[in-house]
Symmetry: C2
Subunit: 458 residues, 2 copies
């Protein structure tokens, strides 16, 4: 599938180079805007306007929205005022607002000059909402009906107004701009009697979000309720916009990516991997590495403090990586599970007691199983097979007791830190494996040397 | 928001206990099925049928679909044959198939006995497709039109048939069951002339998936093209079903969760966190921990082999946790970025050259920055502040050279393993941090002792 598409892309680019414009136009007209936008990422700068001019007017606008900001800027700079006006006329207000956020100031000025007063108005309004809020992701183009309209009148209104609306399938019923109900096109079409009044068939148990609601919450609600669109209201419950399912899907993808990046100790970035330069990647990765490297000073200090013990029982050193690795892995298992459950809203801070109890039992099961296997493995492999006489039964016991305790500590730390972060209104994903590993490393070394001192008398 | 809902839940449960059924029914009728299903998870077993009987017929079916399998089973066992039949009549074929997959054999038998022959047929057909394929997630209820129908006839057909269809907004045009076009209700409603023939307005550059397409691919396509639904065709291009956006959203969420679980070294599970017992969690977590613990034998062996060197320069031991930690973190940063880009289809195996080159430069930037800071830190903190005379300039150099090389190795291993997994048709997420850390740990120790031998002459 993907490869067939790549072959087709190459063929189209070759046609462009060979100036086979008529054939190219015939092929482009059958293609989907998302796929056409994909071709633009593979073109050289001078080819971009060439290919763009081959698109039909409607396709041009839809493709434009899907393109990368660099290509958009290049095109706008090359557009005549008239061309720019034509594209802007085809854009939905939320797409235009996104575009303006990405462009440099002088390009924004040109865009706003060519936009219709209505578009300029909607865009300005959208840009006033906080980033990542329902207000900033909503569109202001939706269909409203009055409660006293009949089904027939409503359908007529949709047919007249629908062409400019992002969705016509969910219509909102307002009185003095206040949202009072909702009716779907399905309800209207399936309604047997054309004279039925909207008020009698509209749904009134409405679910809406405020302009300030976080976009993650909006996406989760759309997904939970299986809605095509969710109405956005202001503080006075006046309807100001809608968020559609396709924007919610993008948010879900972005939020999952952001969580994964945070879990991996990376500062989230909006750019895709291949578009990020090595320096971009460096900037988003080095802060965590630096922080964790410096905080590893503690583990170093602990080892230095017990240098005497290690010199006396040199076999102990060999197990440090295994203990720390298992601790880190156990902790990250718990933190990943809890972080994901929190972000899917399956878990709240009030559940912390249940979580700790569940993790404690899981940790004991894991810890005992691991310690048992480790005990046998050390004896069979390290002592018998490799013939390391320094490994006595007591050394083996110290290692395995530490292993079990480390797993328990790691799981308890791993599950509680993300929940605490949530309560402090931090992103729980920040409290993921790298951070937890550093804490667990230090704790497990302390436990190790404690058992060594107690059992080996050093 | 969430808390207000919890308070409401508690109030409703209290009403149920106090047998205030009329009030309860009045409130339930205004609520959304997803939210009602949420209440059932908080009820005791004996209360479940009580509350369920208070729902209207339509609400009952919609709520039933959103409930947990345990509650569904309990309800079915309590249903009379007639009640079961009523619920089944309201279910879409894909929801019925999901239900049957979750229920034990004797319940399935009862369900199939009460289902209409058509439903039984559709369900059987759906159950025959491989798990996680488009065929298994599609629904067979969609609207088809003939190419020679007029717009008016089409709207009439939708009004007659639509009530049983999962979506009416996208209609598919078929000839001899072969998919030849697509038309939206928006197109139909906005078409000025009722006598226009479908063939003239239908879209023919169709994007469809086969019954065998993986559900992740289907979800990605729906999200990429912003479609409400995607047609599913068999090998002869005959239309067999549609996948709707709401199912795609669920798949996206599940796949992101699965990737995160794999990245955290957990075997994915379908159960939510709070529904999993400690033993369930143990089973999904212990395999990776066991594997990684045993493979840490290598790091242990490497340390044992260089025991002499460590005994001679005991200060070296203190830096092992820092080196391994930084290596692990660097590797997981690269693997997380690459795994996510692969799963969003932003990256293909053909890009491996570009990826390696980008990671190499990023790694050098990170490695040099970290080594420089580390060099100064060791000298100022460990030597001057803590007064550790064993740390000479050469020891400091050995540690920082190792640090830089480790970061480079970690990033190259971290980015290439997931890409290799992809080519071998394994899930790239399996090649995440825990796995990579173990490899990087061993390599970084080898580098450490190599530099120590060369520079310190031990």
């Amino acid at each position: 599938m993907a490869d067939r598409f790549e072959i087709m892309q190459k063929a189209l680019i070759k046609m462009l180079e060979e100036k086979k414009y008529t054939t190219l136009r015939d092929i482009l007209v059958t293609m989907n805007p998302s796929d056409i936008a994909g071709i633009f990422t593979e073109l050289e700068d001078r080819q971009i306007p060439l290919l763009f001019r081959l698109l039909t007017k409607e396709q041009a606008a839809e493709t434009f929205v899907e393109m990368e900001p660099e290509a958009q800027e290049l095109l706008i700079r090359g557009f005549s005022d008239n061309e720019l006006k034509e594209i802007l006329e085809e854009l939905y207000a939320d797409d235009a607002a996104d575009l303006i956020e990405e462009m440099p100031a002088n390009v924004v000025k040109r865009i706003l000059k060519q936009a219709t007063p209505e578009l300029r108005n909607s865009v300005n309004q959208l840009l006033r909402y906080p980033e990542n809020s329902a207000g900033s992701m909503m569109t202001t183009e939706y269909v409203t009906l009055r409660p006293d309209m009949t089904v027939e009148e409503s359908i007529l209104r949709i047919r007249r107004q629908g062409v400019d609306k992002e969705t016509i399938y969910t219509c909102y019923v307002t009185r003095d701009r206040v949202l009072i109900g909702m009716v779907t096109v399905k309800d209207l079409l399936l309604c047997a009697d054309d004279e039925t009044v909207i008020e009698d068939i509209m749904l009134t148990n409405l679910i809406s979000v405020s302009t300030q609601t976080d976009q993650e919450e909006v996406a989760r609600m759309l997904s939970k309720y299986n809605f095509l669109a969710l109405p956005v209201v202001d503080k006075e419950n006046r309807m100001v916009g809608i968020v559609t399912f396709d924007d919610a899907m993008d948010v879900m993808e972005d939020e999952a990516t952001e969580d994964m990046e945070l879990m991996g100790g990376i500062l989230p970035s909006e750019k895709t991997y291949l578009r990020s330069s090595a320096f971009d990647l460096f900037k988003s990765r080095v802060p965590w590495l630096m922080l964790l490297m410096v905080s590893a000073t503690f583990t170093g200090l602990i080892i230095t403090a017990f240098e005497g013990a290690l010199a006396a029982q040199v076999a102990l050193t060999a197990f440090i990586p295994m203990l720390m690795g298992t601790g880190g892995n156990s902790g990250s298992q718990s933190s990943v599970t809890v972080i994901r459950s929190l972000s899917l809203d399956e878990l709240r801070f009030g559940d912390i007691g249940r979580v700790l109890w569940k993790e404690l039992r899981t940790a004991l099961l894991c810890g005992i199983a691991l310690a048992a296997v480790c005990f046998v493995k050390i004896w069979l492999v390290d002592r018998m097979l490799m013939g390391n006489e320094a490994i006595t039964l007591t050394v083996d016991a110290v290692v395995c007791l530490t292993l079990c305790v480390t797993v328990v500590i790691a799981k308890l730390v791993g599950c509680s830190l993300p929940m605490i972060a949530k309560v402090l209104h931090l992103d729980p994903a920040v409290m993921a494996s790298p951070f937890i590993s550093t804490i667990v490393d230090a704790l497990s070394l302390l436990v190790y040397f404690l058992f060594a001192t107690l059992l080996l008398g050093i």
